[in-house]
C-alpha cells in the first residue's frame, strides 16, 4: 500500500522518511566510528611497528617509526613525523622530515628498539653484550639478553653496547631496560606474542615516565576497589528504600511524589553530588573526625581531605536512584497474588518479604547494581572533588595494618585518562596510552551495560512465559 502511495505523492512526501533513515544511519555511523577509532588506536599501539632507516639528502642517517604525514605550512610538499627515540642524544623523541628530503629508505633486520628508564626509548643497533668481562655478539647475545630480562631489574648484571643511528656509541646497563625487540626481524607470530605481552604489561604495571609508558594497573585497582565499596554501601540502602516505597509505605499522593523525586535525582548532574560530597563528607564529617581522633596530625588532614571512603560514599549517593528505580520495577512486576497467598498461609510480612518477594526480585536488584557500577566506573567529575589522585604513591589496600586505608587517595581510570591527556608534559607521547585507557574504560562500561541488558531481557522472557 505504502509503495503505491509513495509514488503517487512523489517527491516531497516521501523525502522526509529518507531524512529520518539518514538520522538512524548517522547515529550508528558515529558510534561505529568512535569504537573503531578507540580499538584501532588503542590496540595498535602495542603492535611492534616496523622501523625505517632513512638516508637524508644531507647525508644524515636516521632510524624511526613513521607515524603520520601532514602538508607543510607553505607549499604543496608534505612532511612525515617519525618517532626516533634517543632523547639524551638528539634532545627530542620526535622528528618531522620532509618527504622529498628522503633519498632512500630501508628496513634492516638488525635494528633494535629498547624501552628503558630513564630516557625513554632507544632506537639503533646492538654491538655487543658485556657480561662479567665476557663479550657476546650476534645471536648468542640476543638469547642471553632475553634470559636476563626475565629476571627482576635489581638482579640483572651486564651492559649493552649500543650504536645510535648517527654513529655514536653508548653503554646501557641491563638493569634499566624494560623491553628489547628487533621489530623488523620478527615474524607475524612473534609480533603477536610481543603484542600480547604489551597488552598484559599495560594491564598489570604501574605508569612510568609521566604516564607516557608503563600501564594502568593502579588505576584499574583503584576503580575496582572504589566500585566494590560503593556497591557494598549502595545495595542494602537502595533495596531497603525500594522495599519501603513499594511494600510498606501507604500508596498515596506523597509516595508518588517521592517516587518521581527519586527518579529525577538520576538526572541531577554528577558534579552536584561531588559538591555535596566535598561540602558534607570531606569538610563536614571528615573535618570533625580529624578534630576528634586525629588532632595530633593536624593541620595536615587525615579524613578532612578527599579519599577512598568519601569517593565511595559520594558515588553511592549518586547511584542510589539507579538501584532504587530498578528494584522497584522488579517489585512492581511481582503479582499481588503471590504476596496475598503468602500472608493468607500465615506468613508475617517479614517472612513474606524474605521468602517470596525478595528472591523473585533478585535479578532486578542485580540489574540495578550492575547499572550502578557501570555508571560509577565511568563517572569522573565528582571524583575530582572528593579524592582521586593523579599518581597515588601508596595503594589503598596493602599489607600494613589496617590493610584497607579508607582515607588514602586513589587512582581512577577515567581521571587517569583525563590527566594524562590534558595535563601531561609530553601529550604526544602519552596519547597512544590514553587511547588504550579509553578503550579499556569503554569496554568495561559496555560489558557491564550489556550484562544488565541481557539480564533484564532474560527476566522479561521468563516472566512472559510463566
Amino acid at each position: 500500500m505504502s509503495r503505491t502511495s509513495h509514488r503517487r505523492r512523489w517527491p516531497g512526501d516521501a523525502l522526509w522518511a529518507w531524512l529520518c533513515a539518514g538520522c538512524v544511519a548517522l547515529s550508528l555511523f558515529m558510534l561505529a566510528t568512535l569504537l573503531t577509532l578507540l580499538t584501532v588506536k588503542g590496540l595498535g599501539h602495542f603492535w611492534p611497528a616496523t622501523l625505517e632507516e632513512l638516508t637524508l639528502r644531507s647525508g644524515e642517517q636516521m632510524i624511526g617509526q613513521p607515524l603520520r604525514e601532514a602538508p607543510m605550512p607553505t607549499g604543496s610538499a608534505t612532511e612525515r613525523l617519525y618517532f626516533t627515540g634517543n632523547r639524551e642524544l638528539t634532545g627530542a623523541d620526535w622528528r618531522w622530515v620532509g618527504v622529498d628530503e628522503i633519498v632512500s629508505a630501508a628496513t634492516p633486520a638488525d635494528v633494535i628498539r629498547l624501552e628503558r628508564s630513564p630516557w625513554g626509548d632507544f632506537i639503533g643497533r646492538l654491538i655487543a653484550l658485556e657480561l662479567d668481562g665476557e663479550r657476546l655478539t650476534g645471536d648468542s647475545a640476543f638469547d642471553r639478553i632475553s634470559q636476563l630480562l626475565a629476571l627482576p631489574p635489581s638482579e640483572r648484571s651486564g651492559e649493552l653496547v649500543l650504536l645510535s643511528p648517527s654513529g655514536r656509541g653508548l653503554v646501557q646497563p641491563l638493569s634499566g631496560v624494560n623491553t628489547f625487540v628487533a621489530p623488523n626481524a620478527l615474524s607475524i607470530g612473534e609480533k603477536t606474542a610481543i603484542w600480547g605481552q604489551g597488552v598484559w604489561r599495560f594491564l598489570s604495571e604501574g605508569p612510568r615516565a609521566a604516564n607516557t609508558g608503563g600501564g594502568v594497573w593502579p588505576a584499574i585497582f583503584g576503580t575496582l576497589l572504589m566500585v566494590i565499596l560503593m556497591s557494598v554501601i549502595v545495595t542494602p540502602f537502595g533495596v531497603l528504600a525500594a522495599v519501603y516505597l513499594n511494600e510498606i509505605a501507604h500508596q498515596n499522593r506523597l509516595t508518588r511524589l517521592v517516587r518521581i523525586g527519586v527518579r529525577n535525582l538520576a538526572g541531577v548532574p554528577s558534579i552536584v553530588y561531588g559538591v555535596f560530597g566535598l561540602g558534607v563528607f570531606v569538610y563536614g564529617v571528615g573535618g570533625s573526625l580529624d578534630q576528634w581522633f586525629f588532632d595530633d596530625a593536624l593541620p595536615s588532614p587525615t579524613f578532612g581531605t578527599g579519599g577512598l571512603l568519601w569517593a565511595s560514599l559520594t558515588l553511592a549517593l549518586l547511584t542510589l536512584p539507579v538501584v532504587i528505580v530498578a528494584t522497584e520495577e522488579g517489585l512492581a512486576r511481582i503479582p499481588d497474588a503471590q504476596r496475598e497467598g503468602a500472608v493468607a498461609l500465615g506468613a508475617t510480612r517479614l517472612e513474606m518479604l524474605t521468602r517470596i518477594v525478595l528472591p523473585m526480585a533478585t535479578p532486578a536488584m542485580l540489574t540495578g547494581v550492575i547499572l550502578a557500577v557501570a555508571r560509577a566506573a565511568g563517572e569522573v567529575a565528582p571524583l575530582m572533588l572528593v579524592g582521586v589522585a593523579k599518581l597515588a604513591p601508596q595503594m589503598p589496600l596493602d599489607a600494613e595494618f589496617p590493610y584497607l586505608h579508607l582515607e588514602r587517595k586513589f587512582m581512577h581510570l577515567g581521571y587517569h585518562l583525563f590527566d594524562s591527556a590534558f595535563h601531561g608534559d609530553d601529550v604526544e607521547a602519552a596519547i597512544p596510552l590514553v587511547y588504550a585507557t579509553a578503550l579499556l574504560l569503554v569496554l568495561i562500561v559496555l560489558v557491564l551495560n550489556l550484562t544488565a541488558i541481557f539480564l533484564r531481557h532474560y527476566l522479561r522472557r521468563q516472566r512472559g512465559e510463566s
Binding site: A17, G279, L441
Partner: protein, 388 residues
C-alpha cells in the same frame, strides 16, 4: 467480630477445629516481634535514604545563604559568563542533537520492522553508556585539531549529510524495482551506513579543493581576515558536536517510546482514511506524542546543562561572553570542577560555586519533574485510547 463473620459465612467453621488443624496458625509472639522490628528498620532505612537525598538540596541552599549578606556586583560579574557559557553549550548541543535524535526516533518507531527495531534500539541506547570522559578526550584531542585544519569540510559535512539522505531517496525512487525490493525502506537505517560513509568521504575530498578555489585560503584564515572572527581550537562547535553525541541516545530513547506507544488503531485509521504516512505522522502521531517528545527534549536539555567532563575537555574553559560558535566557553559545571578543590571553605568563591551547583540542581530537578509529569499524563492518555 471476625469470628462471628466467619461463622456467618461458613456455618461449619467451628467444626474445622475438630476435624483438622487450622491452615494458618496465629503467628507466635517472637515472629510478630521480629516482623515489627524488621518493618521498623526498613521504614527507618527507607526514610533515612529519602532524607539523605533531601539533604543535598538543604545543604546547597544552606551553603548559599552567606551570599545573601554580601552579594555584590562582583559576584554577578563572575557568574554571568558562566551562566552564558552553560546556556551556549546546551543550546549548541541541542541544536545539533535534537533533529538527529527525533529523526531516528520517528524512523525506528514508525518504519522499522519490530525485529530490526529490537536490535537497533539497544545499540543506540548503548551510546549513552560511553563515559563522558572518553567523549571529551576524543572531542578535545582528536576532533578539535582536525576541525581546526578542516573547518570548511566540517561545515560542508554538516550541510551535506541531510542532503545526501535526500539524494539517496531520489535515487531509490529512480532505481529498478528489483533493487528497490532488495534495499527496502524499512532497513534503510542500516544500508544507508555505507552510503553516508562514501558521500562523506567524497565531501572531505572535494571541500578543500573548492575552498582553495573560492576563498584562496582555508576558511578559518578567511573568516579571520575578512570578518575578524577569531577561531579557537576548542570551541562551542566542538562542544556542541561532542555533547550532541552524548545526548542523542537519551532524547532518542524517550521520544521513540512516546511514538512507538501511540495506539496502533489511530495511525492505521488515519492511513485507511487516505492519509499518506507523512500526513499521518504530522497530523496524528506528532500531536499525540508531542508531550512525550517535549519531555525527551527536556531530559536532553537537563543532561546538556549538567555535563561536566565533555565541556571541560572540549572547550577552552575561558569565561567569555561571546555569541560566536568558534570561540570557547566555560560552564557552571566546568568552573565547579576546576575551581572548587582550590577554593578554601567559607571563602566567597566557595559559596559562589555552591550557588552555581544549586542552580544546576534546581534547573535539572525542575526540568526532569516537568518531563516526568508530562510523560505520566501521556501514558494515561494512551491507556484511555486503548493502546499499549
Amino acid at each position: 467480630m471476625a469470628d462471628a463473620s466467619l461463622a456467618y459465612r461458613y456455618p461449619l467453621a467451628p467444626f474445622y477445629d475438630v476435624v483438622m488443624t487450622p491452615p494458618s496458625p496465629a503467628p507466635s509472639s517472637l515472629r510478630t516481634l521480629k516482623d515489627r522490628i524488621a518493618t521498623g528498620l526498613i521504614t527507618a532505612a527507607g526514610i533515612g535514604v529519602l532524607l539523605a537525598i533531601l539533604a543535598i538540596g538543604v545543604f546547597l541552599v544552606w551553603e548559599t545563604l552567606p551570599l545573601l549578606t554580601h552579594f555584590d556586583t562582583l559576584s554577578l560579574e563572575k557568574l554571568s559568563p558562566l551562566a552564558w557559557g552553560t546556556l551556549k553549550a546546551a543550546i549548541a548541543a541541542l541544536v545539533l542533537a535534537v533533529p538527529v535524535a527525533l529523526g531516528a526516533a520517528i524512523f525506528s518507531a514508525l518504519f522499522m520492522t519490530d525485529r530490526l527495531r529490537a536490535r537497533i534500539k539497544p545499540s543506540l541506547e548503548l551510546m549513552e553508556a560511553v563515559p563522558g570522559v572518553v567523549i571529551g578526550f576524543v572531542a578535545g584531542l582528536v576532533l578539535a585539531p582536525w576541525v581546526e585544519r578542516h573547518l570548511a569540510s566540517t561545515l560542508a559535512l554538516l550541510l551535506w549529510l541531510p542532503l545526501s539522505a535526500g539524494l539517496a531517496g531520489i535515487l531509490w525512487h529512480l532505481a529498478p524495482k528489483a533493487l528497490r525490493r532488495a534495499l527496502s525502506l524499512e532497513s534503510a537505517g542500516l544500508w544507508l551506513l555505507p552510503w553516508i560513509a562514501a558521500t562523506a568521504a567524497l565531501v572531505l575530498w572535494a571541500a578543500p579543493i573548492l575552498e582553495q578555489q573560492w576563498l584562496g585560503s582555508d576558511l578559518a584564515t578567511f573568516l579571520d581576515r575578512r570578518f575578524g572572527i577569531d577561531y579557537t581550537t576548542r570551541n562551542t562547535l566542538i562542544v556542541g558536536l561532542a555533547m550532541g553525541f552524548a545526548i542523542i541516545p537519551s532524547v532518542y530513547s524517550l521520544a521513540e517510546d512516546a511514538l512507538y506507544d501511540i495506539p496502533k488503531p489511530l495511525m492505521e485509521g488515519a492511513q485507511a482514511l487516505g492519509a499518506s504516512r507523512w500526513q499521518a505522522l504530522w497530523k496524528v502521531a506528532l500531536p499525540m506524542a508531542g508531550p512525550g517528545i517535549f519531555s525527551a527534549v527536556m531530559i536532553g536539555a537537563g543532561r546538556a546543562v549538567g555535563e561536566t567532563m565533555i565541556v571541560l575537555m572540549a572547550s577552552s574553559n575561558a569565561a567569555l561572553m561571546s555569541a560566536s560558535p568558534f570561540e570557547g566557553l566555560r560552564s557552571f559545571s566546568a568552573a565547579i570542577a576546576i575551581e572548587l578543590p582550590e577554593a578554601p571553605p567559607d571563602s566567597q568563591t566557595y559559596h559562589l560555586l555552591i550557588l552555581a551547583a544549586l542552580v544546576l540542581f534546581l534547573f535539572t530537578f525542575l526540568v526532569n519533574t516537568l518531563a516526568e509529569v508530562v510523560r505520566q499524563r501521556l501514558r494515561r492518555r494512551y491507556q484511555r485510547l486503548g493502546g499499549a
